[in-house]
């Protein structure tokens, strides 16, 4: 007994040692970057580091009336000094995200204060340079931009904001973007999953119950697109669907459409859905196929001989047995589609974009990395939850690659 236990322990140690290199590698090169992103979604020290004295002075301020002359003087000097080091621009951009107009207010004021240092009151000089300094909101925005740990990117990502007293309020209707985009992403993903299931189920059935000599070549037809580069498949859809593309040309040549009636099949949501169904369909077919192969066809015959109609047998006998495959395939397709980026980015145009495009936009164009990180955090939470359910339901250790 003791010897057996010792041997077991040695085997466990060996197993852990074998797994450790990859586990450490994943932790360092994958989990650490995700952590770096999550940190950015709440931790933004840039403004606090740039304006330490102003923020210290504003910490004492009551927030109800304009700050005192001393605070104006400290802030004004700090703005001028920062601008001389060409560091005011990025601070001004960050403050501007909380109170629009503040970018030009900050930069303009810094320039005029530098050109003409106030002899008497900084307060009057700054309000003269830009009337915004007479508004409490401007100062609140600076104080809020100086928070090192901040929930504001998550609030922003959920279309929320903070009011004057720090209470959470819903953004005005014309500035609500992300919640509806997230909901649209979920709806489109559900639609794509549904379409994939509808197309895949009969095909997987045929593949699973055909004679092996016939199923083999048919399965290859599923696997070829699965192995083909995603960019190639996306290119193909552009070739097929665009205005002067193969399908429109065909419809016009056959006289089904007039020349000016060409269908807008791409660079919109239609294009996104068609191309994504094509890309994700094998991820539905393959799990269904591997489950259906284990369901004896005799069960359907048995049900029929007991008097069940085809549909009854399908619904009451076959479908329940295929549910593990349905669940695994659907969850996989759903998980992959809510985070999909490449296909919508290339064929989605302006109206066919999903939440992932917003993350890319804030990463690359607006450079609002905090917001990109917060949107990423929300998406990650969603995908993580679904992956957890998938693991419980289908088991990641039973995942297979392409048939």
């Amino acid at each position: 007994m003791a010897i057996a236990l010792k041997r077991w322990n040695r085997q466990a140690l060996l197993a852990v040692l074998l797994v450790a290199p990859l586990a450490i590698f994943v932790a360092v090169t994958f989990l650490a970057p995700l952590a770096a992103m999550l940190v950015r979604s709440v931790y933004q020290p840039a403004v606090a580091e740039a304006l330490p004295e102003t923020l210290a002075a504003l910490a004492e301020w009551d927030g109800d009336s304009l700050p005192d002359e001393e605070t104006f003087r400290i802030a004004g000097r700090e703005f001028v000094a920062l601008n001389e080091r060409r560091a005011l621009g990025s601070v001004a951009t960050r403050v501007n995200r909380l109170e629009s107009g503040m970018r030009s207010t900050l930069l303009g004021t810094a320039r005029s204060l530098a050109a003409d240092t106030p002899a008497a009151s900084w307060r009057e000089a700054m309000i003269a340079a830009d009337a915004d300094w007479g508004a409490i909101e401007s100062w609140l925005a600076i104080r809020r931009a100086g928070e090192v740990i901040t929930p504001r990117y998550y609030l922003n990502a959920l279309d929320l904001d903070r009011g004057g007293a720090g209470e959470i309020v819903v953004r005005p209707e014309d500035r609500r973007i992300y919640v509806s985009l997230l909901l649209r992403t979920l709806l489109i993903s559900i639609a794509i999953t549904g379409i994939c299931l509808l197309l895949a189920y009969p095909l997987a059935w045929l593949l699973a119950h055909a004679r092996p000599q016939r199923a083999g070549p048919l399965l290859l037809l599923v696997l070829v697109p699965f192995w083909t580069s995603l960019l190639v498949r996306t290119t193909s859809w552009i070739v097929l669907l665009q205005n002067q593309g193969v399908i429109n040309d065909l419809l016009v040549t056959l006289g089904i459409l007039a020349e000016q009636q060409r269908l807008a099949l791409i660079y919109n949501m239609t294009g996104t859905i068609i191309a994504m169904v094509h890309v994700l369909l094998p991820f539905m077919i393959l799990p269904l196929y591997s489950i259906m192969r284990t369901i004896p066809e005799r069960h359907m015959q048995a049900a029929a001989s007991l008097g069940a109609s085809h549909w009854q047998a399908l619904r009451r006998v076959y479908w329940p047995q295929s549910l593990p495959g349905v669940a695994a395939g659907s969850l996989l397709v759903f998980i992959l589609s809510i985070g999909y980026y490449i296909t919508p980015a290339l064929v989605g145009g302006r109206t066919g974009q999903l939440i992932s495009s917003m993350i890319a936009y804030h990463m690359e164009q607006s450079l609002n990395w905090g917001l990109a990180a917060a949107l990423g955090g929300i998406l990650l939470l969603l995908v993580g939850t679904l992956f957890f359910i998938y693991d419980r339901l289908a088991g990641v250790d039973r995942m297979r690659l392409g048939g």
């Binding site: 369909l281 998980i335 957890f388 690659l401």
Partner: protein, 278 residues
């Protein structure tokens, strides 16, 4: 319903079912195939010209292939893709095979959770991974380097190796290890002489998957790669977005041929796999 009517009914349903399946298969394959003839278009269009349909030899040409092979954009891109892909596949295959061996041991503690962790790079939306990596590698001063891209693609490819080697190992008889031990082989000899040869098809399949994943990856390249790391997918991306030309279709045709070769290799390996799984 009479027996004859029911029989006809069944046949009709069976034909409808087959017709539907044929339509789905056409939907899957046709878009991939349509690119191939169009890549021989003599005109810079993305659709069949009248001449092509009349099979007029003048309407067909190899000009886009000459451009791809002659002009100095795609061949360097191929070199970069091969460099990153093989580096990433090497790391992913080494670490992934070891991990799968550990995971296959009945004594491995916390198996399910560890497996979920190791697979997670495969299901995490690539845009999130890419955003996180771009923060991470630029903080480390490794932005726009081959090192960063190879490491990034290695971690994205490792799950494929873990899955495919695990599948090979699931049919593996662990009594063989005990038998080898009884014959005096130490752990390393057993691994090298008994276990690895038997799971080699799974290891190669995983390596091919990891390489293919890197060879087709564009989002991480966009986010952490610099002008030096313009791989084939990166060139395709800008080709599709900016200056779409039938050159892309010629490259696509090469990539389709590459995919068919990969698929054939994986199928061949699967037949060699003693457990018959992959």
């Amino acid at each position: 319903m009479s027996a004859a009517a029911s029989h006809n009914h069944n046949r009709l349903r069976s034909w409808l079912h087959r017709g539907f399946c044929a339509a789905v298969l056409i939907f899957l394959v046709a878009p991939v195939l349509v690119v191939i003839p169009l890549s021989f278009n003599a005109e810079p269009y993305f659709t069949f010209t009248e001449g092509m349909l009349r099979l007029d030899p003048d309407a067909w040409s190899l000009r886009w292939y000459r451009n791809v092979l002659g002009e100095g954009r795609w061949l360097p891109a191929l070199g970069k893709s091969l460099l990153i892909g093989s580096g990433a596949a090497l790391i992913a295959t080494t670490l992934g095979t070891l991990a799968a061996l550990g995971l296959s041991s009945p004594a491995m503690p916390g198996r399910g959770a560890v497996m979920a962790l190791l697979i997670s790079p495969m299901v995490t939306p690539i845009i999130i991974t890419a955003a996180g990596m771009s923060f991470f590698y630029s903080d480390l001063g490794l932005g726009q380097t081959y090192t960063a891209l190879i490491l990034a693609h290695a971690v994205l490819g490792a799950p494929f190796v873990v899955i495919s080697v695990s599948a090979s190992l699931s049919g593996y008889n662990h009594d063989l290890n005990r038998a080898a031990a009884n014959l005096g082989a130490d752990w390393w000899t057993t691994l090298r002489r008994v276990q690895l040869p038997l799971i080699a098809p799974g290891v190669f399949t995983g390596a091919l998957f990891a390489f293919a994943a890197s060879f087709d990856e564009v989002v991480v390249v966009l986010f952490i790669g610099g002008p030096d790391q313009r791989t084939i997918p990166r060139e395709m991306w800008s080709g599709i977005r900016e200056q779409i030309s039938p050159e892309i279709l010629a490259v696509a045709t090469f990539l389709i041929a590459f995919a068919v070769l990969l698929l054939a290799a994986v199928n061949w390996l699967r037949q060699r796999d003693y457990a018959g799984v992959s």
